[in-house]
Amino acid sequence: MTEIVTESAAQPMIEIRDLSISFGQGADRVDAVKNVSFTVAPGESYGLVGESGSGKSTILRALAGLNPFWSGHMAIAGQKLAAKRPRALRRLVQMVFQDPYGSLHPKHTVDHILSEPLAIHGVEDVETRVRAALDRVGLGPEFRFRYPHQLSGGQRQRVAIARALILEPKVVLLDEPTSALDVSIQAEVLNLLTDLRQQLGLTYVLVSHDLGVVAHMCARLSIMRTGEVVETASADDLSEGRLLHAYSRQLLIASRGYDPAAIAAFGDF
């Protein structure tokens, strides 16, 4: 495993050491994530790539605080994470989900969706913040009182991004944020996310099975398989095909499109 040293700031924004996550007990026990370690610098965008079931989304959910059954060390902005996290710490980490059709409450208006996090954290001037949040993701004020079913997939994902940003988090976790969208919309949403990161100095962790998306968004990435990190690489390594592990190379070949000859040569891992 190659360790790439690109730590710019003294303290990483996200620090994960020996993270293991398992589900079930006894014979039914499934180790979804095994001894994963990585760090993400402030303002960096980090990719987790792998096939379905490789544990990449499980890591994200544990970071978001949705799964308390993990062991190891996780810290965000220097604060160690425990099973129960204080409200102020929750504010630092927000998440954008894969399916914009399932991540917005069908009976809440956009206004309700955006103002509720503010109400929970007792933030003032809800009115201006909600307007600003919509504006930031490129939605006009006319969207404010619509229900999710009145929006397109891309618009919904923009609302979901606005919700994630309204608490002014430092870290945004992106769980395949474009895989449920039309190809034509995907680039728009990815560019929006890139712009927002630069404007607001956000730190991203992006989970995807699409090497192209990760190469576009992230400077560094980890390639995962069956709960383990197979390889850690940089975006340059990826674009120049400098991958060490055979599985990573297969993933890269597969991402370039369907090639029968290349796929026939694939090994079984």
Partner: protein, 307 residues
Amino acid sequence: MTDWAIAVTPPRWRKWLLAETPQSRLQARLSRAYLSWVAFARNPLAMLGLVIVAILVFCAVFAPWVAPHNPIAGDLGNRLVAPGGEHWLGTDQQGRDIWSRIVYGSRTTLLIIFMVAITAAPVGIVIGATAGYLGGKVEAVLMRLTDAFLAFPKLVLALAFAAALGPGIENAVLAIALTSWPPYARIARAETLTVRGTDYIAAARISGASGMRILIGHIMPMCMPSLIVRVSLDMAGVILIAAGLGFLGLGVAPPQPEWGAMVSEGRSQILEQWWVCTYPGVAIFIVSLGFNLIGDGLRDVLDPREG
């Protein structure tokens, strides 16, 4: 089928209700309610049910004006008069006008339905949603309690409660409410289980929402449609149980008019003076039908999954 509900609505406020871009939460909510109403109004049977229930409410509210005679004071000279003439549904064995007693009896029926709906449904949704959301031991305890109540036949349990508490409208309501909440709890739990794992609940948790906020603000609204449908369908059953308790003398105390008790009083003359027990029975039938039709219509609008 032409949509008369849209055709006769004045265009200006309809335009406001159907606006593409609502300007406030209130407008968005009303717009949504209006669209549901339009869908509901397209169903002629549901509208028939609504008309029946509207008539019931009208009779109950304006009973002193709708009823031509005093429902309690009888005229013993006019016992068991056949329908027609002054007493157009006839009189009973104490000379009381049956139409007037049915009109006043609608107050009792409506009161029981209303009280049962506002006690049993909230209890059911709180128990069911809490059990479904928290899971584990809380769920086991709450749902076994629900099962225990569900194991008894509804009418028998209501009878036992009414017999233990004594006759009277409050006790009838209590008895019916105590036996009506378990199905609501089960429905609320089932809905909660499907909602609990969704991304929008996860998003609410990430934003720091407390369990109480998620339960009330996010989960319960998702349980409401199927619960409203079930409650309106159950109203017919509640009317029948209330009438059954009245019939057995465990409902409203005489001489207050109550449809079940009226059927019971007339059963000794059922062959000679058939109208004494038939007309209250017809009233029970029509009102039950009305609530069932509304329930079916609501199901089509609110809960399109079960057809």
